[in-house]
């Protein structure tokens, strides 16, 4: 199965649930997805910060890599040191082209010895898959790359109460952060991953699409609040997680994106020479987090006066001010630097902030 590039948007197994809940549906990367529910993005956002939200992220893709040389293949493709991922472990990395440009950012899990599941962004999935398959073949690895998109529904349960809510229906203790394990939740086989995209504790759940509505209903019944893509975006931006297509692209390398921490050039991944050179030279621009000092909301594409561009911007529901990420000249990228952003003709003053923009209080 593969996502069609044209034609009607695909629907997740929870589409009917979203309609019944009165969600606003938008097309996102070829999928009909809930952008917000009637309670609104701010209430959904705060539910994740204060209690528990549940997101349908079944649009995300999966690639399975198996075989005697699955590790060697992934080591060649992914920027991080995949040999450090134990069975049941998770790791974040980027996929680079030969020039060090970012093709996607990914989470990979070793779910069985030598068997890895890599979660892709919906808009990049087809390209990622073709990249995996092409390099597996051309470089002669004894590994098999399987497209698993459509084989899984994916739910993200996030927030301070999320583990308690999921634990209550689990047959065994939930895996810790950055680990993954099979569990039975309400009797349903689920790959439970201690990962997320909100800056809160929580789990991501991969399961057979047929079982997704029943588990969704059960977790909602136990207090998880449905949250849409709009809240997912405000939450990840407060946490300063990158969004591929906004903050990451083929035109940017991981060093300038602030992702040097997940690049292990000595592994010899595709693009590692270019990444090493970028690290050595120091980038001309850096991706920074900023906060507006006055009213207003900077948006993607707004220019930074004197050079640079906003790649993500929103009003922070937690902080009540405009926040965002922007590429700015390296000499103005240190915390506390003053920026001026041209917001549709109005110059808004901003200050470079430490990442993440939102941090849990004591």
């Amino acid at each position: 199965m593969s996502a069609p590039s044209t034609g009607a948007p695909r629907r997740t197994p929870l589409y009917e649930r979203h309609l019944e809940a009165g969600a606003k549906i938008v097309e996102f990367a070829g999928w009909d997805m809930p952008v917000e529910y009637p309670t609104g993005v701010r209430a959904e956002h705060m539910a994740v910060r204060e209690s528990c939200g549940i997101f349908d992220v079944s649009h995300m893709g999966q690639i399975e890599t198996v075989g005697p040389q699955s590790l060697q293949l992934l080591q060649r493709l992914l920027s991080n040191d995949v040999s450090k991922v134990p069975v049941g472990g998770a790791q974040y990395s980027v996929l680079c082209n030969e020039r060090g440009g970012v093709l996607d950012d990914l989470f990979s899990y070793q779910i069985d010895p030598g068997r890895y599941l890599t979660v892709t962004n919906a808009a990049s999935h087809e390209r990622d898959l073709a990249w995996f398959q092409a390099h597996s073949a051309s470089e002669g690895f004894t590994a098999h790359v399987r497209d698993r998109v459509g084989d899984y529904a994916m739910l993200a349960v996030q927030g301070p109460l999320s583990r308690e809510i999921v634990q209550a229906v689990s047959d065994a203790p939930l895996p810790e952060r950055m680990t993954a394990a099979m569990r039975r939740l309400s009797g349903i086989e689920v790959l439970v991953c201690g990962t997320g995209y909100t800056g809160e504790d929580g789990v991501e759940l991969l399961l057979d699409p047929i079982d997704a509505p029943a588990l969704w209903d059960e977790l909602c019944h136990r207090g998880a609040v449905p949250a849409g893509l709009a809240a997912r975006d405000t939450l990840r931006l407060e946490a300063c997680y990158h969004l591929y297509g906004n903050d990451l692209s083929e035109q940017r390398n991981p060093i300038e994106a602030g992702l040097g921490w997940c690049c292990e050039e000595q592994t010899g991944f595709i693009g590692s020479d270019a990444v090493a050179a970028a690290r050595e030279q120091g980038p001309a621009q850096m991706l920074v987090a900023f906060r507006l000092e006055g009213p207003g909301i900077a948006r993607q594409g707004n220019q930074v006066v004197g050079g640079g561009v906003v790649t993500s911007g929103t009003l922070s529901p937690s902080l009540g001010v405009g926040i965002g990420l922007a590429y700015v000249p390296a000499e103005r990228s240190s915390v506390g630097s003053r920026l001026e952003i041209d917001v549709r003709g109005k110059i808004r003053r901003a200050v470079v902030e430490a990442k993440p923009l939102y941090r849990k209080g004591p």
Binding site: K24, V35, E36, P38, G40, V41, R42, A230, D233, T234, P295, G296, I297, R299, T314, L315, P317, R344, K346
Partner: protein, 131 residues
């Protein structure tokens, strides 16, 4: 307000704005955005009012309202001069969602060409373009 509503006493611009002509002064209009516009936008979190004295031109943007997700231009249904802005929206932009035809009004305009009202829609005609 949760349910769509398009009051009979207002004039509508197809770009989802309304105008209310003052009872005692036919050259004074209060402007705002329609239920449809605020619903499409979602929760309004920012309104940057134009300054009183600003000239506005029919069919052209005169202000912006922003939700968490998006920014939307507000188009003038009349040509004229802004004489008053709803300053309370600076602190409470959510009033545009809660009461788009009342507390959520945006500006008052001194109309320079009252005949422009002939080009605006009544509630039925506006509702018809939403279908």
């Amino acid at each position: 307000m949760a349910e769509a509503s398009y009051p009979e006493d207002l004039l509508y611009h197809p770009e989802h704005d309304w105008a209310r002509i003052d009872d005692g002064d036919p050259a004074l209009a209060t402007l705002g955005i329609t239920w449809y516009a605020q619903d499409a936008l979602g929760e309004v979190v920012f309104f940057d009012p134009p300054a009183p004295g600003t000239e506005v031109h029919k069919d052209e943007p005169y202000a912006e309202v922003e939700s968490v997700k998006a920014v939307s231009d507000v188009v003038a249904p009349f040509t004229g001069e802004i004489v008053e802005v709803n300053e309370s929206l600076v602190d409470d932009p959510g009033a545009i969602n809660e009461d788009p035809y009342g507390a959520g009004w945006l500006v008052k305009v001194r109309i320079s060409d009252p005949s422009e009202r002939e080009q605006l829609l009544d509630a039925d005609a506006y509702s018809a373009i939403l279908v």
